[in-house]
Symmetry: C2
Subunit: 422 residues, 2 copies
């Protein structure tokens, strides 16, 4: 592929070489020690834990979370009950946990609030961005390759606010933004191809034309540096159940840049975002700061499981995570090239590091059958219909031996499943 | 108060009489056996568990929930991981749990979906109701005494859809509804006073004028029969962390009457409400049935804690719960009348059974100090500023001896805290 030295190595590499390389890479891996923080066993009766390459869909369980959540349930809810809103810090959890996520996405404190689903936060962000935008701007640019919920929700926001949706490839945004553009909603990493979009460049192009940048970080937060503040992003949303390991359906988050907070005008002004929530007055008056992005009563059990899960990041630099992520995906691409029968799979994920997230997507005509068999053999990725095999690499708990094994198993499966039409 | 026989009893009753009455009432209480299903201990080191009369804010922990949630975390998330979306029934949880709530609010299956906060569901319901309403109807009637989030969210929905908010007392709705009324949003039980609104009468009056009825069931579901289907309610929302004991911030629910489902047009059409969510197509096509009310990925930990919590309703008739609830609040009002120093507290909750929910609100000039001291002495109610002492009675775990003790402790506290200005 793009790097000549790798291509040369690939042509001459053998399975034994790659297995040895994997061992050496794991031995030198500074992040490898974090693997023990996660529950990666296969469960009772299963000796082999397999290889989990679906952390870009649902992150693995941090091993200390069950005990922490058990305390939340049995003591905070069961014994303290209503007192826990104050005494156990339930009330302040959305901003407190937002501040834990902030350094991972390059945000200073006080700009992120946790709660609701990603879809609901996309709605808040898009409607609020139309209200922050200068008058007369009636277009919303939407990443046409985006995870579909963003497009559906943006369409609904446009319908309610009288805007027009312009779907386009993110690379086309700098050329498409005009004085009619209110905002663009873009995924930082494409959920299907794993392509990393140019957040600094697209944001700058939008700003130059007087438009706002709203980024969806679902597939980048926790896998690579985002630099929200450094690049002047206006609003952002993300989920916490992928690379942040917060648990199934864990609450999402909303980032509102400090300079916009005073004029952030939420379409979901629930009582939790009121300046004096327990005044319970009939008139709405928005809270200052990140709390303005709240809506209703926060979902405490899921939220505090997420808070506990974030402990795995203590002492971890996101730049180191990114370096290992690229090494893992490089190595996977190399192993696939060496092991997999010619022509059966094609990488959809870009080779260039600057354009790659933390997953590898392979196009394969027999993708549904291949993924089912891979999972049966203990290598868990996922399928994106009709023909994408998707493998996510979470640097805190995936090692290079996992990568080599996954590629080798894929080759075995491809050898056992005849090509379509054969 | 209103019933002469009670008034006569009250004047002659003594503490000994009331304590004996409480014992007899508890002995005859068919629902008393359910109390053992809940964790009501005071926690380590506390011998006396106290009296918990705040289940109308946060329901007590059902004792079997911790073990069930531990299994969800350690096995379903920790071991099965992504496979649990199918194998552990995560994907179908929102409708499955909706169907568990349905009989408690008088709904047939297939009309309730669980997810998001009450505020977010109010938004869905109000916007969708404006779209279901006949064209040209530009007014939304809103219960002016309502829990404030409903009013704030309705105001936002009105702003986005070009409607006008008309705030009024719920009793005034039948006289105010016109051919300009699209819908009314009403709380079934007022969170502050505990007044039960006339759901059948108000719904019928709205329908007679061609308008829709949207009810908020936060303070009635699980405490009294609602009869959504029987009374022809159009849309309803409710929380699950009060009388349904689902846990702090547990997901709320949305009811869309079957006859409206085909035309239910959500302002939050997230990918989970798509007819083919894993098709991940750019065009939105709404799912059939209750699933159309979904938005994003469901919050599994909180949702499955709620599902477990609903087991306490097995074999319980909501009519029996209502009968005990009224007996509890009657007895509390009687005990307060007998014990409390004259003139210090005034019941705000209606005497008439047809107008009373499952709480008693007492106005008291010294309410903040009184409630703080009550809690210190083990009787947990809550305060609604500036001067309301609020006591909720959850028939599944509150008994008559609790009621007598709470009223007696209140009288002691009032005796120890001098009247304002004294």
């Amino acid at each position: 592929m793009s790097e000549p030295t790798t291509a040369t190595a690939a042509t001459s590499a053998s399975a034994a070489d790659l297995a040895a390389r994997a061992r050496a890479l794991d031995a030198a891996d500074e992040l490898g020690k974090h693997r023990e923080k996660f529950a990666l066993g296969g469960g009772s009766g299963q000796e082999d834990a397999g290889v989990y390459l679906d952390g870009n869909s649902l992150g693995a369980l941090p091993a200390h979370v069950p005990a922490r959540l058990a305390d939340v349930v049995a003591r905070q809810w069961g014994e303290l009950r209503i007192r826990s809103w104050d005494e156990s810090g339930w009330w302040t959890a959305p901003e407190r946990i937002g501040d834990r996520i902030a350094p991972l996405v390059g945000a200073a404190e006080g700009q992120i609030v946790v709660g609701d689903s990603t879809s609901v936060n996309v709605f808040k962000a898009v409607v609020a961005a139309t209200r922050l935008a200068d008058g007369g701007r009636d277009e919303i640019l939407v990443d046409a390759t985006t995870f579909p919920t963003d497009g559906y929700i943006a369409e609904s926001a446009a319908r309610l606010t009288g805007h027009r949706i312009v779907p386009l490839d993110p690379a086309g945004i700098p050329g498409a933004v005009t004085d009619r553009t209110a905002l663009a909603l873009v995924n930082h990493v494409d959920y299907r191809s794993g392509r990393l979009q140019d957040l600094p460049g697209i944001t700058a192009a939008l700003h130059e034309a007087g438009a706002l940048a709203v980024w969806d970080l679902c597939h980048s937060a926790g896998a690579l540096p985002v630099g929200l503040d450094a690049h002047g992003v206006d609003l952002a949303v993300g989920c916490t159940y992928k690379y942040l390991n917060g648990g199934p359906g864990a609450p999402a988050y909303l980032y509102v840049a400090e300079r916009h907070q005073d004029r952030f005008d939420s379409p979901l002004p629930g009582w939790n975002s009121h300046a004096d929530p327990f005044g319970m007055t009939p008139g709405y008056r928005a809270a200052d700061g990140a709390a303005r992005g709240r809506v209703g009563t926060p979902d405490i059990l899921s939220m505090l499981a997420l808070e506990a899960a974030l402990d795995v990041w203590d002492g971890v630099r996101i730049e180191d995570v990114r370096a290992k992520s690229l090494a893992l995906t490089d190595f996977f691409l190399e192993c696939v090239r060496v092991y997999a029968p010619g022509g059966r799979v094609t990488a959809v994920t870009p080779e260039a590091h600057a354009e790659r997230g933390s997953q590898v997507a392979l196009r394969c005509a027999e993708a549904p059958a291949v993924m089912a068999e891979l999972i049966r053999r203990g290598v868990v990725g996922d399928l994106r219909r009709p023909d994408i095999l998707r493998f996510g690499f979470t640097p805190l708990y995936v090692g290079f031996a996992d990568v080599e094994r996954a590629a080798r198993t894929l080759a075995d499966v491809l050898a056992d499943i005849p090509p379509a039409g054969a």
